[in-house]
């Protein structure tokens, strides 16, 4: 099970974090979930810098991304990931309260892999999140390049 890749959850609201973790836990996913609280931290994690400079090498199995976050928002993270050849194969899932058309449109135009509106109903929320976790962390076959391949820190992206 040590080979199971991590799930990166970028979510600023601790209540949502707790509910999401509970939902993922519902199906006993063994993947480690790394929680970051804004876009900047998410990018630090992906580029292994700042407090994540010492983290072990490797891209996450999936990034669950809230849109509205302080500092760098979810759409900005999405744009940067999809613009980076080393990161763009990471499955990016927007998990948000917003059903606004423009958020949907911008997400898809920047190459999001899935867009999920958090249901108000908790049972449905559990269903949605856990099936997301199952699909991206277990069912989906990641691209060969990212499978187990270690990502080296890149000098030019160091702050």
């Amino acid at each position: 099970m040590a080979n199971l890749k991590r799930i990166l959850l970028a979510e600023d609201n601790p209540k949502d974090v707790e509910l999401t973790l509970t939902a993922l836990d519902e199906h006993k996913l063994a993947n480690e979930v790394v929680v970051v609280h804004n876009g900047a931290e998410a990018l630090d994690y992906l580029y292994r810098r700042g407090k994540f400079s010492a983290r072990e090498v490797g891209n996450p199995a999936v990034v669950l991304l809230d849109i509205k976050m302080p500092k760098v928002d979810g759409l900005e993270v999405l744009r940067m990931v999809k613009a980076d050849p080393d990161l763009k194969s990471i499955p990016m899932v927007v998990l948000t309260s917003s059903r606004e058309e423009r958020d949907l449109a911008r997400s898809y135009s920047q190459g999001v892999n899935a867009y999920v509106v958090k249901p108000v109903e908790f049972q449905e929320f559990i269903k949605a999140v856990s099936s997301l976790g199952i699909f991206w962390a277990l069912v989906n076959e990641p691209p060969p390049r990212s499978a187990g391949k270690m990502k080296e820190p890149r000098s030019h992206s160091q702050p």
Binding site: K15, S97, E100, V120, E121, F122
Partner: protein
């Protein structure tokens, strides 16, 4: 009888008696040309001396002369036996009968009237010479006494002399008569022509007067019309001078007509900054016939007499009159319109700002309001799981109520957001197959129709032009309502059909459900307005407001007919051509403004 022999003319000695040198020259020339030998004297006395010194063949004498006149000369000759046979021709005006009598009395042989015809004169000379040759020296008539104009005359002239005198006199009279007749005819002709010309002139003058009158009337009419016009009218000639100025122009610019006529336009109503361009434009037009501002509506500032500027809308048309151009301008003050436009622009900007705020607001509702709701729901659920064994019936009911309320609020937020989105989202018009859309919506409603007996009647529905997603929303609401409000019916009947009105398509959805009281019909389409209690029929009170908003944006109308427990019929009309819808026009207006 001896045949008279007349010698060659050079043997004939003609004595001319005449005091006028020009007459002498004329007569001498005439006679010498004919070969006569000519002597001249200037009065009767000289003539007598000349005759006595040498006898002439013939004498031609004037009458009025100094010292001795023609009559006295003639009488002296005829009284002298040695001279009496020399023929005397008197040159006379033959003005009165006295002239003839005086001639006869002095025994003149012949007369020539002045002015004489040269051929006539020469013929008289020949005739006189012939008569002289034929004359019998013995015959002599007794003298005759005649009275004329109170004077007595003794005529001792011989018969041939009288004849010679009378014939030319008569001839002259006939000739004069003839001439007179001709002159009279000419005169008559001339009079006729003059009369005709006169009549023509009179007619022409009358015609001209009529034309002038007509022109005056027409000008008066034109002036009256121009003065009645709301538009200011200004005419300028190609020198830039103002030629016409109506009453509205007086009001608009403050210049009275009599003060402005004849003044250069450029110095009166054109603000200084446009003057050079104006002059250049006129010159350019006169040179090339091109005028980019001519014959179209333009908006520009003009100058009032008191110095303030006013915006005007004007159109200038050049009219060619003979070889010159007149520039006619119609214009009106658009200060009020400009003011209204400015206000409209400000209001539009305010509205756009308010719209943006509203958008931001609904976005935040969508995102921020839903999150705590989800948390309440999530944690209530977790609590239930956590404490379920510790809770009694009451406690479980409380938790259930919390969940129900949260669900209801979630629906409310979702509906509100949909409603707000429907007002903001751009419409995408396509041809929509209504029949197909109805089938799809009926499929969507299947969960609500479980364990229900519903008889559907779907009539023939046309294809309409509209936004497919929004029209679907309309059908979801109307059909959903029909299903919902027929719930108490053992056998529900729902009918969907179409009636073609004039220029519009009317769709109706009829059910045999609980219906509503028509006195509350006006509340049907208001946001959050409900005619049934939440325990009776669930709902947020937004569905029909949404339907109305969509139909309005398509340029259509919505209305309903019903009675309590008699079912309800909802009608919506869609214009046959959606381009006439207010939304389409608003979109068009927006594009126009962006492009402009």
């Amino acid at each position: 009888m001896n045949v008279p022999v007349i010698g060659r003319n050079q043997d004939i000695d003609v004595l001319i008696v005449e005091d006028s040198p020009t007459q002498i020259a004329h007569l001498s020339y005439l006679l010498e040309e004919e070969g006569y030998a000519v002597r001249t004297t200037t009065n009767g006395r000289q003539a007598l001396a000349a005759i006595r010194s040498r006898m002439p063949t013939i004498i031609i004498s004037d009458i009025m002369m100094p010292e001795m006149d023609g009559y006295t000369l003639c009488r002296a000759i005829k009284a002298d036996a040695t001279l009496k046979n020399v023929p005397v021709i008197l040159v006379t005006d033959l003005n009165s009968p006295q002239d003839v009598v005086m001639g006869l009395e002095c025994c003149a042989d012949n007369f020539i009237t002045k002015p004489y015809d040269p051929q006539f004169l020469l013929a008289r000379i020949t005739q006189s010479l012939l008569n002289k040759a034929l004359r019998s020296p013995h015959s002599r008539d007794a003298p005759v006494q005649i009275e004329l104009a109170g004077s007595r005359y003794t005529i001792s002239a011989e018969r041939h002399q009288i004849l010679d005198l009378l014939i030319p006199t008569y001839e002259e009279a006939v000739r004069l008569n003839q001439k007179l007749k001709e002159q009279q005819q000419e005169l008559a002709l001339e009079v006729q022509e003059r009369t005709a010309a006169n009549e023509r002139l009179v007619a022409e003058m009358a015609e001209r007067k009529r034309a002038e009158e007509a022109l005056r009337k027409s000008e008066e009419q034109t002036r009256t019309i121009l003065n009645l016009a709301n538009e200011a009218y200004i005419a300028m000639d190609s020198d830039g001078v103002i030629r016409d100025w109506n009453r509205a122009a007086e009001v608009t610019f403050g210049w009275p007509r009599e003060d402005i006529l004849g003044k250069p336009l450029v110095e009166s109503v054109i603000p200084p900054r446009y003057r050079e361009a104006h002059t250049r434009g006129v010159q350019h037009f006169l040179k090339t016939g091109e005028g980019p501002v001519l014959n179209k509506r333009i908006e520009i500032e003009a100058l009032h007499k008191d110095g303030h500027e006013l915006p005007v809308e004007l159109s200038i048309t050049p009219i060619r009159l003979a070889e010159r151009f007149i520039f006619c301008a119609f214009l009106h003050d658009i200060t009020e319109r400009k003011q209204a436009e400015r206000e409209l622009r400000t209001r539009t900007e305010q509205l756009e700002a308010a719209n943006k705020e509203l958008e931001a607001f609904s976005y935040s509702v969508s995102h921020d309001l839903r999150a705590p709701l989800r948390h309440i729901n999530g944690f209530a659920d977790l609590l239930q799981r956590h404490v379920t064994s510790m809770l009694d019936e009451k406690g479980r009911r409380y938790l259930g109520t919390i969940s129900d309320s949260v669900r209801q609020m979630g629906l409310l937020i979702d509906d509100l957001l949909t409603f707000s989105r429907m007002g903001r989202t751009q419409l995408h018009f396509t041809e929509v197959n209504l029949e197909e859309l109805v089938r799809q919506v009926m499929d969507d409603l299947k969960p609500e129709m479980e364990e229900r007996r519903i008889a559907w009647t779907v009539g023939a529905l046309p294809n309409v032009s509209g936004d497919r997603a929004m029209l679907r929303q309309v059908l979801v609401n109307l059909l959903g309502n029909a299903v919902k409000y027929t719930r108490p019916c053992k056998q529900a009947r729902i009918e969907i059909g179409c009636t073609d009105g004039s220029g519009e398509t009317v769709i109706f959805v009829r059910d045999n459900g609980v219906g509503f009281d028509m006195q509350y019909a006006h509340k049907l389409f208001g946001v959050f307005q409900r005619l049934h209690g939440a325990t009776e029929f669930e709902g947020t009170g937004i569905g029909l407001a949404l339907v109305q908003r969509i139909i309005h944006r398509h340029g259509g109308r919505i209305w309903a007919e019903s009675a309590v427990d008699k079912g309800a019929t909802f009608y919506c009309s869609l214009p046959a051509q959606v381009s006439g819808g207010e939304e389409a026009m608003a979109t068009h207006e927006l594009k126009r403004r962006k492009n402009g």
